[in-house]
């Protein structure tokens, strides 16, 4: 994707345009974030129709209240991802609770486990798409292409040491998906 503007500038301008009520800005917002939003919602809910509904809801909220995003708090992209995550988990909890009530069972532990699993999976997706490209590429080579770390190093034109470092750091970042929201992300350093 072409990124002509640096993200903070694009984010700020986008917010101003949305606040001004520019329908064209809404279209551009959708073009940039729809696949992220839909993908995360689908990861949590596992259902195309429900993911469509969350997508509609996320964009409607941003469009209706663009001022609720504060550019100083971070990129628009992560704000949109957080909103999507929250709405999707909420919906999952609602539908699962309704399903439990219908079965007459009251297994809230199982419900919480399911919600947590879906939530972690979605957070992991987001972490993978947002991590620095060199780390993601190394993980992809090692995991999906089944290259060992020496081959990974050769493919990337880096030293074996560097390939090992990238694989470990990539996994360390990914493992923060298990942390409960609110805890700071892993430092990514060594102990």
């Amino acid at each position: 994707m072409a990124r002509r503007d640096t993200p903070p500038r694009w984010d700020r301008k986008m917010q101003q345009r949305l606040a001004r009520g520019e329908a064209a800005a809404l279209g551009e917002l959708y073009d940039r974030f729809a696949s992220l939003v839909h993908g995360l919602a689908h990861r949590v809910l596992g259902d195309e129709h429900a993911a469509d509904a969350i997508t509609r809801e996320v964009f409607a909220r941003v469009w209706e209240n663009p001022e609720s995003y504060d550019p100083k708090q971070g990129p628009l992209r992560s704000w949109v991802a957080t909103l999507t995550h929250r709405l999707a988990v909420q919906r999952l909890r609602t539908t699962e609770t309704a399903a439990l009530a219908q079965d007459g069972t009251d297994d809230t532990d199982e419900l919480e486990r399911k919600v947590r699993r879906a939530s972690v999976a979605a957070r992991a997706d987001y972490i993978v798409t947002s991590m620095p490209t060199p780390l993601r590429t190394a993980l992809e080579l090692a995991y999906f292409q089944r290259r060992d770390y020496r081959q990974t190093a050769a493919d990337l034109g880096v030293t074996a040491d560097e390939a090992r470092r990238r694989l470990r750091l990539g996994l360390q970042l990914l493992s923060t998906a298990h942390d409960t929201p609110g805890t700071p992300p892993a430092q990514g350093g060594t102990r």
Binding site: A25, D52, T55, A60, Q172
Partner: protein, 412 residues
């Protein structure tokens, strides 16, 4: 493994279940001289620092067997590394192949519409610009999915030059360059930057495209996508600010003009047609536009038919009208009923004698029925007028002239 499956050709015997393989050591045969695990490697002795650095590769099963053994040995003695190893192994479980979930292109329109109902826009996109907005978004989604090499896949641009089908060879990236340059005609009208840096004598779509291709030092690559998408977003934004009244602004195409509102429809149509060319070249499916947008595109074609007919008549390519003189403007003349079937279809009465004549149901001399997508393929020059699958009745010459006029709406 399917070793327990019954053998299909061996029905006298019960299903054959292979006996467990005996170990080679029990057969009395000599051991193979070289097996992957023998001779057993001397255990690796590595320091804590090195072992810790290996944990990521180990968790991904991307370390050598000797290193793996050394790491696992170490995990029994070192609590810190064991903790991290567990954490990284769990993280590996979170990796999964990216889902190739194509977003339903119709979702965009539904989502935007839902938003705009909840909060009406202060600066709306004029309705005549929404087909362009939707088609450029659809094409961009297709481009998102294609690989680096596919940008160089050959594409043949096809059109009808008035007499016969014509074509020009380019690549996927070349097609996007073509769209960028021709959309640039609208950009220039709106006071935006011209993507074409060189001048052309007659700024026709074809001349501008050839000039753009010539001026590039290298064949176009996927890098053309960014400028094309930026320009298409800017066009939508600019016409929204200019407002619905700007629809009458004339957009010059070198040898003819269209009002902006029709020009934006024409660009939407071209974007769809060329997206179809690209999709064919890289073997992806591609659907027609939404029925409402398709209808607007067909309507534009139908409205352009009378002048296309007149131009062909002037060039001696179509039969002269009923009288040697044009029917006076505003009077009823011979008409052809164009019936477009399928989603986005409708009926149009085409005046045959002159662009200024009134179409009249009383003077209907012929009736043509075509599927909407087939009509668009004809108007794009992708189907020849002789081969267009059209139901027809009435004046054969009038039908032939209209089908040829439809094909001659196409250009590079």
């Amino acid at each position: 493994m399917n070793s327990a499956n019954p053998e299909p050709n061996d029905d006298q015997h019960p299903p054959r279940i292979p006996i467990p393989r005996t170990s080679i050591e029990d057969t009395g045969l000599p051991l193979p001289t070289q097996t992957p695990t023998s001779p057993p490697p001397p255990p690796l002795i590595l320091e804590h620092r090195v072992l810790k650095a290996l944990l990521g590769a180990w968790a991904l099963a991307a370390s050598s067997p000797e290193e793996t053994a050394a790491v696992e040995d170490h995990l029994g003695d070192c609590g810190a590394c064991a903790d991290e190893a567990l954490r990284l192994r769990e993280a590996v479980g979170l990796l999964h192949p990216p889902e190739t979930l194509d977003l339903d292109p119709a979702l965009r329109t539904r989502v935007l519409q839902a938003c705009l109902t909840r909060r009406p826009p202060r600066i709306p996109v004029p309705s005549w610009a929404t087909p362009y907005d939707a088609e450029t978004a659809r094409l961009d989604a297709l481009l998102q999915d294609i690989g680096d090499a596919e940008w160089h896949a050959p594409v043949r641009l096809r059109w009808f030059d008035g007499k016969e089908p014509t074509s020009r060879r380019t690549t996927v990236a070349g097609v996007i360059a073509h769209l960028l340059t021709v959309d640039g005609l609208v950009a220039v009208t709106l006071g935006l930057e011209d993507p074409l840096e060189t001048r052309t004598d007659t700024p026709t779509p074809a001349a501008r495209t050839e000039a753009f291709w010539r001026a590039a030092h290298f064949p176009p690559t996927r890098s053309v996508r960014g400028p094309w998408r930026e320009q298409s977003h800017n066009l939508v934004r600019t016409v929204a600010f200019a407002g619905g009244g700007s629809g009458r602004l004339p957009v010059p195409y070198g040898d003819f003009e269209l009002p902006l509102r029709d020009s934006m429809l024409d660009r939407a149509f071209e974007t769809w047609v060329h997206a179809g060319d690209i999709a064919d070249a890289v073997d992806y499916p591609y659907e027609p536009p939404s029925p409402r947008h398709l209808h607007a595109m067909i309507d534009l074609g139908a409205r352009m038919l009378p002048s296309a007919l007149a131009a062909r008549r002037q060039a001696g390519l179509a039969a002269p009208g009923e009288t040697p003189h044009l029917v006076p403007a505003g009077t009823p003349g011979r008409s052809l009923r164009l019936e477009i079937e399928g989603l986005g279809g409708g009926e149009w009465l085409i005046p045959l004698d002159s662009p200024g004549a009134l179409a009249s149901p009383d003077r209907e001399v012929a009736h043509v029925a075509l599927d909407g997508v087939e009509f668009c393929q004809l108007a794009a020059g992708h189907v020849s007028p002789e081969e267009a699958a059209a139901g027809q009745s009435g004046d054969r010459e009038a039908i032939r002239d209209v089908l040829f006029a439809a094909a001659s709406l196409s250009r590079m």
